[in-house]
Symmetry: C2
Subunit: 437 residues, 2 copies
Amino acid sequence: MNMSSIKRFSARDTNVLPSHFYNIKADLPTLPKPPLHPETRQPLNPQDLEPVFSKGFIAHEGSMERFVPIPDAVQEIFALYRPTPLIYATGLKKALGTPAHIFYKYEGAGPMGSHKSNTALMQAYLAARENIETLVTETGAGQWGSALAHAGALFGVKVKVFMVRVSYRQKPGRRILMEMFGASVEESPSPKTQSGARFYDQNPDHPGSLGIAISEALELAVKSPATRYSLGSVLDAVLMHQTVIGQEADLQMAAQGAEPDVVIGCVGGGSNFGGIAFPFVRKRLKEGRSIRFIAVEPEACPSLTQGELRYDHGDTAGLTPLLYMHTLGMDFVPAPIHAGGLRYHGMAPLVSHLASLGIIEPRVYPQEHIFEAGHLFFKAEGILPAPESSHAVAAAIDEALKAKNEGREKVILFNLSGHGLLDLNAYARNGNGSRNA
Amino acid sequence: MNMSSIKRFSARDTNVLPSHFYNIKADLPTLPKPPLHPETRQPLNPQDLEPVFSKGFIAHEGSMERFVPIPDAVQEIFALYRPTPLIYATGLKKALGTPAHIFYKYEGAGPMGSHKSNTALMQAYLAARENIETLVTETGAGQWGSALAHAGALFGVKVKVFMVRVSYRQKPGRRILMEMFGASVEESPSPKTQSGARFYDQNPDHPGSLGIAISEALELAVKSPATRYSLGSVLDAVLMHQTVIGQEADLQMAAQGAEPDVVIGCVGGGSNFGGIAFPFVRKRLKEGRSIRFIAVEPEACPSLTQGELRYDHGDTAGLTPLLYMHTLGMDFVPAPIHAGGLRYHGMAPLVSHLASLGIIEPRVYPQEHIFEAGHLFFKAEGILPAPESSHAVAAAIDEALKAKNEGREKVILFNLSGHGLLDLNAYARNGNGSRNA
C-alpha cells in the first residue's frame, strides 16, 4: 500500500477563515426575477417579510453587496469548527484507478454533522439580536432541524421544528438530538395547523413533504408575535451564508496549486450546492476560468431536470411569496426516499437562474445508485456520507471514471455536505450492510 | 453572550504529531508482575504468544524501550485525522460557573468516532506486514470492532468480530458499519465456539460480556492457522499505542502555557485512560509535577474500586495468560448497561499497577449520573459523548464544581474518547430525550 501521496489540508488553518459571506447577486450578468407577494403578485417589499423573518435576515436576503460581513460573534463560533477539512480522496482515487484528482470538502465535521450549521448559527444570532423568542422551522432528514436546535441553544432562542413524517420515523436519531437541545419537534403533517390538518385528517400516516412542513412552520410563525420563521435552504440569504464553504475550498485548493475543473454538489433546496459553487462561479464569470458545475438531484424529486421554470409557492399551502424557480408544483409529494433533505418540490431561485443561464448542469440519479456510491466511498475513505451527500459522491465517481476513460488528470471538487451516521439503517436497508436492520 | 474567551487548538497543527509511542514501563519505579502461562503458570515467553498475536505485536508487548517508533505507513494514516482537537470547554465552564479551566481531547474526531483506531491501525499494519489473512476480535459497544474493520479494510486484512449480544442489539449502527467494511460479525455468546456454546446453549439470549467474547475470538484464532487475534485494550502494547493521545495533549496544552492539575479518563480495559494519562504520569514520576489521575468506571462493573488485585484470566474460558490485575473474577457478567465498552471484569495490568502505587485514583458512577453528565455536556458543548466517555465527563464536571467551591482555577484535562451518535437511543431511554425511542 502506498500512502505517500496522501495530501490533506489543515482543517484548522485559520488563514482561510472567511470574514465575509459572498453574495453572487453582485456578479451575475442578469438577476433572477424577483419574488412576488402571494396575494398581490407584485414584487415583494422587504417590509412584507417582517412578520415572517428577523429584520437582519431580511437585510441579508435583499443585499446587493458583493461581500457581506460575518458578525464577530458568529465568526468566533465558526472558528470552533471551520475551516472544515478539504480532503484529497486518496482511497477513492485508488479504488477507481483514475488519474483524476478528487477533493472533497467535509462539512460533516461541523456541529450536528452537516453544512446546515453555517446558516443556522447566523440566523439564530440575528434572531437573538432582535430578541425574537422562538424560531420555528421545518426539517426533512433532520440535519437542518438539529443545526437550528443547536444554534438556538447557543444563542438563547427557543426552537420549534416540524419534521417531515417519513424522516421522523426513519431517522429518530436526529429527532432525539433536537429534543436533547430542548427543541420541540412535531411530526408533519400535524393536526396542529390548518396547513397540516388538511393532509393529516385524510391520512394520519401521510409521509409529508418539505412543502407541507414549511406551510405549517410559516403558519405558526405568522400567528405568534414573538415567533419568527427560519428556513434552511432555497432563499438567497441562506445560500449566501453557505458560501463560507466554497471560499475556504478555493483558498485550500489554491494553497496546493490546484483549481477545480468541475464542482459538484447535491441539490434539494440548493444551499450546500450554492455554498460550494458560487465562489467558483465568480471565478468563471469574472476571471474567465473554465469551471463546470454539476447539481445532482434524486430521481424521486427531479425539480431541476424535470420541473418547470416559473413562479410557484415555496410551500404547499401557498403561504410563501411566489418564487421564480424550477418547480414540480407546490402539490408535488415526493416518494419517501432516504435522502429526506432533497425531497423539495422547488429549487433555490439563484440555482434555477444559473441553470437557466447554462452555468449549472443538472443531473439525476436513482436511489440504488447513490447508496452504491456512498458505500464505495465509505469503504475507500472511511467516512459515511449522508444519503443526500451520496448524490454528490455518485457524480464525482462518474466524473472520475470519465476522466479515466479519457486519460485526463481532471480536478474534481465535491461537497460532502454531511455524514450518514444517523442514516445507517437506510444503508442497511439498501443492501449495503449484509442484512436488514 | 461572551464568546471572546474561546480558545481552541489547531486540530491540524502537525507539529504535535508524535513519531513514537511512549512506553511507560521504561519509567516505572517497579514493574507490574509478569503475565503467566495459563497452563504452566510460569512467566510467559514471547514465543508462547505466537499462535495468538502477530510477531510485531508481541515485540511491542514486550518492549522496554521508552519510545517505540511509529512506522511511516501508520504515521501517514494517523496524519489523516491526528492530532485530534484539544478543546477548551467554554460552554461547559459557563454552564457550571466554575473558575476551573477544562480541556478535553476529542478522540471522537477520529475514524469510526473513537480512540480505538489508534491501535487498530497499528495492529492491522503489523498483521498485514506478516501476511496474516484474518484478524479475529471481540467488541463491546462496537467502537473497537468498527475501528478494526476499518483498519483491516485499509491494510487488506479480513476481520471477524464477536460482538457482545447486549450491544449487538442495543447498537445496531456499529454492527452495520463493520459489515459495510466487509467484516463478519457474530453475536456473542454464539453457538459457533465451545467458549460461546457453554453460555448460548443455556440461554440463547445471554447478554454476553467482553470476557466471553474474548474467549470466542481467541478460540477461533488458535484453531485457524492464517488467523491471529487482536485485542482493543488491556495489554501493555495497546495502551502504548494510545499514548499518541496524551503526547499530543501535552504539547497542545503546553503551547497554551497550560498544564493539567488533574487528568481524567474512563476505564473499561484501560486503554483510552492509559493513552491520555501515561505521558503525564511520566511528568509526575520524572519531573516531579503534582498531577492527579482519575480513572472512572461504571457502578455495574467496578473492577478497580471493588475488584481484587490478583492473577486472573482475561477471558471467561481461561484461554488467556494469567494477568496480574484488578478483577471481579473471570466469571463476572456485568449488568447490560449502555456503556458496553466498559463491561470488562478485569483491568489493564499497567493501570492496576499504577492504582496499587497510589498514582491513579479510581472512581465509580452509576448509569443515571453519567447520562445526566453527558446530556449537560452535549447542551453546553454541542458534542454528544459516547456513554463510556460520559464517565470521564461526569468526573470532569465534579472536579470543576469542586474547584468552584474552593474558588480555584484548577486545570482539568479529560479524554472524550468517542462520540455517542450511535448511542442516541441510550440517551433517549435514559430520559434525556423527551420521550423513549
